[in-house]
Symmetry: C2
Subunit: 459 residues, 2 copies
């Protein structure tokens, strides 16, 4: 593991994040604070944030004490919202103020979001006027708005100067370009946005030619737009950068590659979590009680829907008490419809996120899912009827389970596309609620058709 | 919608991908080919690919006929693998050869992957020697290896020249920098990789200083590494670019921001699809029969596991026939364990992908999930026991369902972390199979404990 400590400006072998984690775990177990400090000194702010997120709360506090002071600010801005308050618990306003000096407005706003009002006021009072205004502006946005995620520092250039002039100007101030910069914003005399100039074009083309000759069109994003919608734009337009404008068309900031990457990842992550009934901000190493509480909500909703299904079954006690085989087959009932429905749901939710579903193709898709449901329904109906016949040697039961599977898988597929489309029309995020509604529908339709059929055919 | 057609070098209002889709749908419905051609002429290759993916097969063929010839190559490289063969069905080797002239080796290899051997040979014969060698090299990799995804064109510079010299050299050849370039590779006299120079640093620092002064360390990726593992490295190290080396340490290519974005998205997408039992390459508008077939596999596996659960229930026919209320409560049994387990599973799979789970924290997590399971188990056990008591007015049944919920939710949480960790140890992708194994375990444990308890307490 010693090669982990030999990090310099030469290419290094890839060391899995997990190796670093285990190495740090051993140091923490040995309580070897000097070596931990040396190790952290060689990691980036991202790596330190990722490592901090990988420890339970007590160990995390201990490691935090020896994070290099010059990185603490950036690490704080980087860690998940859930974790930040615990790291800042014992910090004074003065200390936070010192950290803030090296940060840009975006990071400061992120950090101040999770401190008390008195601390916030003290830190704000110590900031440069320009940065304070930027932070205040960022704080004016809701946490789901683009404005809350944008970088307020844009680099604006005129279109009638030469590429060489642009380069010289960029070199005059070391702070203008940061590591993430890929695009410069071209504005006209009235500061209206004309388009973009990429760093690649700035280097590549003859230096005496004018900026105006190499302007790329820009897709702008509104500052009050929902950040998830903005992520969908980035994905469907395949862009890596966008200027942000307010409702007056004034340039107020930019979204760049790093932010977008984070947004897109967060977006898919949260879709995945929502589909499984886990809250957005549940963090892997959250304390037991917090996790238990956050998961309880979904379990409670789920219990309600399961009770609804139970109530449906309760209506058929007569047939159940006569034919126990029906009860035996009930897990098959609950399961096949649920799986068929969530297969469709996953494909549809992904398509919605990509902007690929709309207009007339909704009916095409609806029709497709109907047919897929019927075809698979009939195939598995036959398979299941044969199995049931061999098992129970009772034609009525085999007929019931067969018909049931054909009906329910068709209904499940149709619901798998119908429910998210209806939710979207109602402006409800389909990822958040489609899966619980779908389960309820497939369970209730499932048991009702299964036991209803059984009552008709057997009683 | 006319503003969609007014795209020039000025910033344009954001037009949702869906608006474009509906606009194109209307044109296709009107069979207005000239307007479709004009519309497509103003879209990027990404947008055209996304639009083609949003149409059923017949319409797609029709639209493909009027995609601007100069974009056809890039669109082909961009569309999903599933769709490409149908677009290329009627193309001759000569036609493909012409398209290939404007493409880089990466795109050509992607396209040739889906054509017949005779066509492939003809196209290869027409390529420049250098490009042909590159394509052949890319084709030597398996489709899950980093080498299959890398860009073989790297830009290599020496460390002992000045930044101004680098810039002049880059301008001599228009093709060196492409839109995606962010980093240059710095090599020593023996062509060994020393590190990276970013375009930002190239512009920002005094032009008479040496490259050597601004070399950033590089994390290299092996060309035979699994692309999903590489995606995990990018995510956990938060890097946007990596040089690719072969097993002799020789530089063979690079992975850059665009590729990585795609890989990371594909990775999360496929995790999401796998968790829902949908095959990786199921495309939204795939023909009915293909979708039905691809989903059948999972439905079949699921039927097997449901039958296992049914077999467990079959062992308890005696108690079921006496107490119908047990059958009524069975959906609650199947449901609560399943939800609790998949909540844990989702959090764990995400943590594994981020490299945050390993070494001693596995036991901490295991312990945490055990407690979360027990706490939520006891809470919902009490709630459910009270409900059952009110419903059936039978202490035995209430006791059984209460005990069952406490036991099963604990078991589900423990399985939710145990199963993916065991699968990982066995080198099986947890996202692919953990969810079906988990369902089987929670169903079987669930019904066994529920009906077993009932037999003990009631019979």
């Amino acid at each position: 593991m010693t090669d982990l400590l030999e990090k310099d400006a030469s290419p290094e072998r890839y060391d899995r994040a997990e190796d670093k984690l285990i190495y740090l775990q051993n140091l923490v177990a040995d309580n070897d604070m000097p070596t931990i400090e040396a190790f952290l000194g060689e990691q980036s702010e991202y790596e330190i944030a990722n490592l901090l997120e990988s420890f339970p709360s007590d160990d995390r506090q201990q490691i935090w004490q020896v994070v290099p002071t010059e990185l603490k600010g950036e690490v704080l801005a980087e860690v998940e919202d859930d974790i930040r308050p615990s790291l800042m618990e014992n910090m004074q306003a003065g200390e936070i103020g010192v950290l803030a000096e090296d940060l840009d407005a975006q990071d400061i706003a992120e950090i101040l979001d999770t401190v008390e009002e008195t601390v916030r006021a003290k830190v704000m009072a110590n900031l440069d006027d320009e940065v304070r205004l930027q932070v205040a502006h960022l704080e004016s946005y809701e946490d789901w708005e683009v404005g809350d995620y944008m970088d307020p520092d844009t680099i604006q250039i005129q279109s009638d100067i030469s590429l060489a002039q642009v380069q010289r100007w960029l070199r005059q101030d070391d702070d203008l370009l940061d590591d993430q910069t890929q695009e410069l914003l071209v504005v006209d005399k009235t500061l209206q946005l004309m388009g973009l100039l990429s760093l690649v074009d700035l280097i590549k083309y003859p230096q005496d030619s004018l900026v105006a000759d190499y302007i790329d069109p820009a897709i702008t994003i509104n500052d009050r737009m929902d950040i998830q919608d903005a992520a969908a734009v980035f994905r469907s337009e395949d862009i890596r950068f966008a200027p942000v404008v307010n409702s007056f068309g004034e340039l107020v900031g930019q979204l760049n590659a790093e932010d977008i990457m984070e947004i897109i990842q967060d977006d898919v992550d949260s879709t995945m979590k929502h589909l499984a009934g886990v809250s957005d901000d549940e963090e892997l190493f959250a304390p037991i009680l917090r996790s238990a509480k956050s998961r309880s909500v979904w379990l409670g909703i789920n219990l309600l829907t399961a009770l609804l299904a139970a109530a449906v079954i309760g209506q058929f006690e007569a047939v159940l008490s006569q034919v126990v085989a029906l009860a035996v087959l009930m897990p098959v009932v609950a399961s096949m419809g649920g799986i068929a429905g969530s297969q469709t749901l996953t494909v549809v939710i992904r398509g919605l996120a990509m902007g690929q579903i709309g207009g007339s193709n909704r009916w095409w898709l609806f029709n497709k899912e109907l047919w897929v449901g019927m075809i698979n329904g009939i195939i598995w109906a036959i398979v299941m009827a044969v199995i049931a016949q061999l098992w129970f040697d009772n034609m009525q039961i085999s007929t019931v389970i067969g018909c049931y599977i054909a009906i329910n898988m068709t209904a499940a597929n149709v619901s798998g596309i119908g429910i998210p489309l209806i939710l979207k029309r109602m402006n409800i995020d389909p990822a958040l609620s489609a899966s619980v509604i779908l389960t309820t529908v497939t369970d209730i339709v499932g048991f009702m058709s299964f036991l209803g059929l059984a009552s008709l055919l057997i009683l």
